[in-house]
């Protein structure tokens, strides 16, 4: 009688392993009440905040960036969702069951990342589309142009996916809800907050270029690109660097630790 070796069970190359893990992660997420709340909250609050920013926008400002302001709230909901998808398992102890069912830690993390990214892309697209539609009604001027707006909108969806993955990486590294959320929010908001308090323009430019949120949101700018602290695509590159480092750190720690 033959039995499969345990090594083969653990290899991520085994067909169906990743898709089964994906199915498991999707089931976990969609059966949680908080997921529904976070996802619907993300879309609704994004559109609301964008509407209020567009409604109070002044002409001759960057209207596209104004009408995409809702991303600030949308990213919060998505980040909390990503963090909870990891730390919730640690908090309730189901991580042991998960790792028992899928011993390959890379597969587990990959499945979580894919699930959470898909949710982020869907939520982001819905939120951005809603924001632009509402903004079209409320803005004082008609739409400025096509190319800038497409880059800003698509870039914002990309930004949301990257920020979500950044949260996932940090949560995997830290494993505790409050610590992960505090760390993530500090990483996002400390840079612009401190830049506001420090009056020096050089330091403001440095902080704006170094922070994941401020650099990543440069993708939304359609006017006055020369005066930005960092260009749209280099800014997104900064955010990509942060996300990749966080995911790498999370993966290494996940593989090295017990559970």
């Amino acid at each position: 009688m033959s039995h499969r070796s345990s090594a083969a069970d653990r290899s991520p190359g085994q067909p169906g392993m990743v898709s089964r893990a994906l199915h498991a992660e999707w089931t976990k997420l969609r059966t949680l009440r908080s997921t529904v709340l976070l996802v619907s909250g993300a879309v609704i609050l994004t559109v609301l905040l964008s509407a209020s920013a567009a409604g109070s926008a002044e002409p001759h400002t960057d209207l596209t960036k104004m009408s995409l302001t809702g991303v600030h709230v949308g990213q919060l909901c998505l980040v909390v969702l990503a963090i909870l998808s990891v730390t919730g398992e640690y908090g309730t102890g189901t991580i042991k069951t998960t790792l028992l069912a899928v011993p390959s830690r890379v597969t587990v993390l990959l499945a979580k990342a894919l699930t959470v990214t898909m949710i982020a892309v869907v939520v982001g697209t819905a939120g951005i589309a809603g924001s632009l539609a509402v903004g079209g009604f409320l803005l004082p001027e008609p739409w400025p142009g096509e190319t800038g707006t497409v880059r800003a909108a698509a870039g914002t969806v990309l930004y949301l996916a990257l920020v979500t993955l950044l949260g996932l990486g940090i949560a995997t590294a830290v494993r505790d809800t409050v610590t992960a959320i505090t760390l993530m929010l500090t990483l996002l908001y400390a840079f612009p907050f401190v830049a506001q308090l420090v009056g020096d323009p050089d330091w403001q430019r440095r902080l704006h270029s170094a922070g994941p949120m401020t650099a990543g949101l440069a993708i939304q700018a359609t006017k006055d690109l020369d005066h930005l602290p960092i260009g749209p695509w280099p800014g997104l590159g900064v955010l990509i660097a942060y996300t990749v480092s966080a995911l790498l750190l999370g993966t290494v720690l996940f593989r090295a630790r017990d559970a």
Binding site: T61, V80, V178, I181, F193
Partner: protein, 495 residues
């Protein structure tokens, strides 16, 4: 035979509030992670404050600063048409409201009559003046200001000197006088200078474009007309000479005689020079990081009990749940206040050498002393803001019982408005900032504010309220509402 009723010899347990406080303190200090979080809050606050101090540099002041009679920096520049006045003298003039060429005059433009110790910037003075926006006023020695009310038309003004006492009067017709105020000028010699003057502060205009705010100081050339000038105790006005006191103005001021009086034009201002408070405020900017960490601590101190089920033990030991909430709030608040105080007391002195090296030097930026009430207010206020934020987090944890939502709500409530208001127009931004708990950070301002000096309070500088205690009041209100809601919910729920 009767037996004595049984009385237990064991002393009754003490279940007072003191015991409850001790229990909460034991819980707090026995979790290593929380102690580390507090330490990290102190260390990070200090580090962030020091790096902010190292990174900021002062602009060179455009004008050399003048020092007033009490040694504090003042602005004393104006066009003065004056002559000597003896120990008992009087000066009367009918003054019209000053106006500016090509634009509306700044509300605090000044035109009137003055008795000054010497014709030198920074010397003592007493003046009666007319302003476009604030009526008739009696000002002396830069900080003393009394208003006489009454609209914005021309007025008869009078200054009477007897020895060192100067008294100011105002009249609508030149015959019946109302006393406005009087002052003693200690440094007045037998002969003082008296005459007509005009001064206008630079008007600050703030506009916002492309997400950045620009602040332009509009330099105003101001004109004032004087008629029916009468002098007693000195040479008549025709023999007076005109000077531009203070730093060199953009153009020389003029004093031209007219048919029945004079017309003066000039620049400058006569007011205390508000000293920048960067030497106190910049090192304290690290408090936001400390606030985030102590908020996490406050939330955890409640939600961890719920997660582990310890809350049932706690409520069994103390069935009066309001006291449990109060004890937690007091312990967490007190510990956080001490941590915040330690951090502030370390960072402000430690940052002074860095700030000095970057251009923040006396006399424009005097070294902050802890005995100065404004500095003490900033330091204690920062510790108070941290303590209130921690108590607000305790309330949030008790309300939601879910750590993720509580910590997210608290951090977002503090940090998000300050970041998002960059996108809003200026007036909306100011109002949003006034209504958020982060308005508490306005307690960190250490500037002396005077009612008769126009200063700028921009959201971009983190200034939401001109009055520091008003901002702290907003934070206190948020904390009180949070605690009240938590109290109600804790008592109503099962656990």
């Amino acid at each position: 035979m009767t037996t004595a009723p049984y009385r237990s010899s064991v002393t009754s347990a003490d279940d007072g509030f003191g015991r409850l406080l001790l229990a909460e303190w034991t819980k707090l200090r026995s979790v290593l992670r929380w102690t580390l979080a507090l330490l990290a809050a102190v260390v990070l606050t200090v580090l962030l404050g020091l790096s902010a101090a190292a990174g900021i540099s002062a602009d060179e002041p455009e004008v050399p600063s003048t020092v007033g009679p009490d040694g504090k920096p003042v602005r004393d520049g104006f066009q003065f048409l004056h002559g000597p006045l003896s120990a008992n003298g009087e000066l009367i003039a009918r003054v019209e409201v000053p106006r500016s060429v090509g634009q509306s005059a700044s509300p605090w433009s000044k035109a009137g009559i003055m008795v000054k110790a010497q014709a030198r910037a920074g010397s003592e003075y007493a003046a009666m003046m007319v302003t476009p926006g604030h009526g008739v006023r009696f000002q002396s020695n830069f900080t003393h200001d009394v208003g006489a009310g009454g609209g914005s038309g021309p007025r008869w003004l009078r200054l009477t000197r007897s020895g060192a006492t100067i008294t100011g009067y105002v009249s609508a017709d030149g015959r019946s006088w109302n006393r406005v105020g009087s002052t003693d000028l200690q440094g007045l010699q037998a002969t003082a200078e008296a005459g007509l003057f005009v001064a206008a502060p630079d008007h600050i205009v703030q506009t916002r474009a492309f997400g950045s705010t620009s602040r332009i100081e509009v330099v105003a050339r101001t004109t004032a007309t004087f008629t029916d000038v009468t002098v007693r105790g000195g040479p008549p006005a025709a023999q007076w000479r005109s000077d531009d006191l203070g730093p060199r103005p953009p153009e020389p001021g003029t004093a031209r005689p007219t048919a029945n009086g004079f017309t003066l034009t000039g620049f400058g201002d006569i007011a205390p020079h508000p000293q920048g408070d960067e030497r106190v405020r910049v090192p304290l900017t690290g408090a936001i990081i400390g606030l985030i960490l102590v908020a996490a601590l406050g939330v955890q101190s409640v939600t961890s009990e719920y997660r582990r089920g310890m809350i049932r033990t706690t409520f069994t030991a103390s069935p009066r749940r309001g006291r449990v909430l109060a004890a937690k709030a007091i312990v967490v608040g007190a510990v956080t206040f001490v941590a915040g105080l330690v951090a502030s007391l370390i960072v402000v002195p430690a940052a002074q050498p860095l700030l000095s090296r970057n251009g923040y030097r006396p006399p424009v930026f005097p070294a902050p002393e802890l005995t100065d009430p404004a500095v003490l207010r900033a330091v204690l206020g920062t510790a108070l803001v941290l303590a209130l934020a921690a108590v607000l987090s305790v309330a949030a944890g008790a309300i939601t019982r879910h750590s993720a939502s509580a910590i997210t709500a608290v951090i977002v409530l503090f940090v998000l408005p300050t970041v998002v208001v960059g996108a809003l127009p200026l007036t909306a931004a100011e109002w949003v900032l006034r209504l958020t708990p982060a308005a508490g950070f306005s307690i960190q301002q250490a500037v002396d504010r005077y009612d008769h000096v126009e200063t700028s309070c921009l959201p971009d500088d983190g200034c939401s309220f001109e009055q520091p205690w008003a901002g702290l009041g907003v934070l206190v209100a948020y904390t009180a509402v949070g605690l009240a809601l938590a109290y109600r919910l804790i008592r109503r729920r099962d656990v």
